[in-house]
């Protein structure tokens, strides 16, 4: 192939729609059509998944097809769906009306920062829906149409919704900066819900959701496999510590039901976090049980529609009721806590058949969970440490130089910010914070949440994760950080890929893994390796 001349390249640069989204810039945003090509969209849901969930319009289709095979009268379906939701969710109506376009949110989204695409500015993302709302639901819009910022619902608009509601991880960072507290995540949720009404959804979300519905977890694993996997972890723990822990499954009458994302049971590096839980519960002699039915903390219903979210959440509580436990302890998950903190109570709560959680070890009553009856493992662990109930040797993590990534949902949707930090203070010799504008409530998303953690959009994920990776790179270069800790299973998976690309020498772990390493178990053998079978400091060959 002939090497192109510089001059040609320049022309190429100006003419080619080669930004991720294919948008050719320098036109009014409303006039720039979206362009789908392999790599910039998540694969559509398989018809079998759509049928299983009883969602409408199952068919073979692809976003890069011209014809999306939408159902007859789809515009009406969407507009009616929007009307129904405007009536049902007051927040949506308010978010549609009160934005003053001040732009404070514009540059706060990791998708904008990583792609440079203006439609990834939260204000414009919301405008995609708001323009239709204006057109059909406000007097000014009805009279003035485009002049009042209104747009009729067309296939082009629908395609735009699909593109940009799946370039938002519903992380809520933008809402932190909005003077009116407008939560663009909720607007994205609505756009995704509306798209499902006409059969536009992605497989990466619908398959785990239907698996959860069927077998209780994202992977579709059956009870015996779930149990077997935990037993393998028990074997590993014995090899490393000399202690045999004895978890129970589906045990009626246990005091506590423990629920964590299934990725902690099946996949690296989550399994090391699970080993941490197992050690901790053994260490304090907790009367608890796993469930092979409520075997998933995550809830992909949240990324689908509110009915499915409600149903999957209800399964956890049904299992707690069946087993007759007093309260639920939840593992390191992200969006599970958003569902719990923001929606559970009005959806399925209050869980009156359970007791207000009280730590059997310290006697601490978790009043913050008085209605949902579910406590976060970090709250629980921090309380144990504070009451000096754990024997810890932080030097067992001396081979780790850790930093902490606040996962969006625990940090912004439930305010769990200091507990994991307090745990880190006690289980590692020293750890390092990333820069102030990238942590706590201003934390940057991993870039792949809300069901965007799929391989076909890997390049996009590497860009949306850039703001996070950039901060990790900074602490790696400045302090020699080699471990990125977090309290979210999706993070553990997606940050592993993100760091593998941007900062290859940084690994990812759950905070409970570091707890497990540090725990001094009664009767243990001399520890030579950590939970990954990696040699401890001073124990290298």
């Amino acid at each position: 192939m002939a090497i192109p001349k510089v001059e040609e390249l320049r022309v190429n640069v100006a003419r080619e729609p080669s930004l991720m989204t294919g948008a050719i810039p320098k036109e009014e945003w409303m006039d720039v059509p979206v362009h789908f090509e392999e790599g910039n969209f998540c694969y559509p849901a398989k018809p079998s998944m759509v049928d299983y969930l009883k969602f409408p319009n199952s068919r073979e289709w692809s976003p890069d097809d011209e014809d999306w095979k939408l159902p007859e009268g789809w515009e009406e379906i969407i507009l009616n769906g929007l009307k129904e939701r405007l009536d049902k969710f007051r927040s949506l109506k308010i978010f549609m009306d009160i934005c003053v376009r001040c732009g404070a949110c514009a540059d706060k989204c990791h998708f904008f920062l990583g792609t440079g695409d203006p439609k990834n500015m939260p204000v414009l993302r919301a405008e995609l829906l708001r323009s239709v709302y204006r057109n059909d639901f406000t007097t000014a819009g009805k009279l003035l149409g485009k002049l009042a910022g209104g747009r009729t619902m067309t296939v082009g608009v629908l395609k735009e919704w699909f593109m940009y509601s799946y370039q938002c991880t519903e992380c809520r960072r933008c809402s932190v900066f909005c003077p009116y507290g407008i939560d663009t995540a909720e607007i994205t949720m609505m756009m995704r819900e509306l798209l499902h009404l006409v059969g536009v959804g992605t497989n990466w979300i619908l398959e785990p959701a239907s698996n959860s519905n069927r077998t209780g977890n994202h992977m579709g694993l059956q009870p015996h496999t779930f149990k077997e996997n935990i037993e393998y972890l028990v074997d590993d723990i014995e090899e490393i510590t000399g202690i045999r822990v004895n978890p129970t499954f589906n045990r009626k009458g246990a005091e506590v039901l423990f629920i964590t994302p299934s990725a902690d049971v099946f996949a690296e590096p989550g399994i090391y976090t699970a080993m941490g839980y197992l050690l901790l519960f053994h260490h304090i002699g907790l009367d608890y049980t796993w469930s092979t039915y409520a075997s998933e903390g995550g809830n992909f219903g949240l990324f689908t529609n509110n009915e499915l979210m409600k149903k999957l959440n209800a399964k956890q509580y049904a299992e707690a009721k069946r087993l007759g436990v007093k309260w639920i302890l939840g593992g390191e998950c992200g969006h599970m806590w958003r569902v719990l903190h923001q929606y559970m109570d009005t959806m399925n709560g209050p869980a009156d058949f359970l007791e207000v959680p009280k730590s059997p070890i310290t006697g601490t009553v978790f009043d913050n969970a008085a209605s949902t009856k579910m406590v976060h493992i970090s709250e629980f662990t921090a309380d144990l440490i504070k009451n000096k109930k754990l024997k810890l040797d932080p030097m067992r993590n001396a081979h780790r130089k850790a930093t902490f990534h606040d996962s969006c949902n625990p940090a912004r949707a439930m305010g769990l910010i200091d507990e994991p930090r307090y745990i880190l203070d006690n289980v590692v010799p020293k750890w390092y914070e990333m820069p102030e504008n990238t942590i706590r409530e201003k934390t940057f998303c991993c870039g792949s949440g809300t069901g965007l953690n799929t391989g076909e959009i890997m390049e996009l994920r590497m860009r949306s994760g850039l703001p996070r990776a950039n901060a990790v790179e900074h602490v790696r270069d400045k302090f020699g950080v080699n471990m990125l800790s977090c309290v979210c299973a999706i993070d553990r998976a997606t940050l592993s890929s993100l760091t593998e690309y941007w900062t290859p020498d940084v690994e990812v772990c759950g905070v409970s893994e570091l707890v497990g390493n540090a725990l001094i178990m009664d009767g243990e053998k001399e520890r030579e390796s950590g939970l990954r079978f990696e040699p401890l400091a001073g124990m290298e060959e």
């Binding site: 514009a106 540059d107 996949a267 504008n437 391989g455």
Partner: protein
């Protein structure tokens, strides 16, 4: 005046124009933001472009340096490698440097007198393009590896627990070993 001196003198203006040519593809509001926001954590892409270009520029100007790859340039190329642009497009910015430098420096220098200097400069830019192209391809390969590793780790589809797989393998091997005498 000699070219190397002019390059040092005009470093800032050259770098600015060079950055601009990497930004042309973005929408006006994006360009404005990338140029304005100086906090590297609030503007990681703008930052990566600036420091990556600066390192590459210094390498090209420093006639004693052999190695083109530097850490920040590496990160800039990684960025290019995930922007879904063609390979030629991704590395073409290096060639643009020739044009910018000619524009900024040519009026102050007699081409004929400094003919050899210009030639040498061009050769260094050409070398850099090739090196950057290699870096780009390495980053692309890395992306494929990340994809494969993600699948095989079971992180996302969770098909198998690595521990379980190891145990099964060991069991199968033990079984196979036990089976051998039985066959005899």
């Amino acid at each position: 005046m000699q070219l190397d001196k002019l390059l040092v003198e005009n470093r800032e203006i050259i770098l600015k124009q060079w950055k601009d040519c990497l930004l042309t593809k973005f929408a006006p509001e994006t360009i404005l933001f990338f140029q304005k926001q100086k906090d590297q954590f609030a503007n990681p892409m703008g930052h990566k472009i600036s420091v990556g270009l600066a390192e590459l520029f210094d390498v090209i100007c420093d006639t004693s340096s052999r190695e083109v790859e530097t850490p920040s340039l590496g990160q800039l190329i990684k960025l290019r490698a995930v922007q879904q642009v063609s390979a030629s497009d991704a590395v073409s910015f290096v060639i643009q440097l020739k044009k910018i430098v000619r524009k900024e420096c040519l009026s102050n220098i007699k081409t004929r007198e400094s003919y050899e200097e210009w030639l040498a400069f061009d050769v260094r830019v050409d070398t850099a393009v090739l090196a950057v192209f290699d870096m780009f391809m390495a980053s692309r390969e890395q992306i494929y590896k990340v994809r494969v590793n993600e699948l095989s780790s079971g992180r996302l589809n969770g098909a198998v627990c690595p521990s379980a797989m190891m145990k099964k393998e060991q069991e199968q091997q033990a079984q196979a070993a036990a089976d051998i005498p039985a066959l005899k």
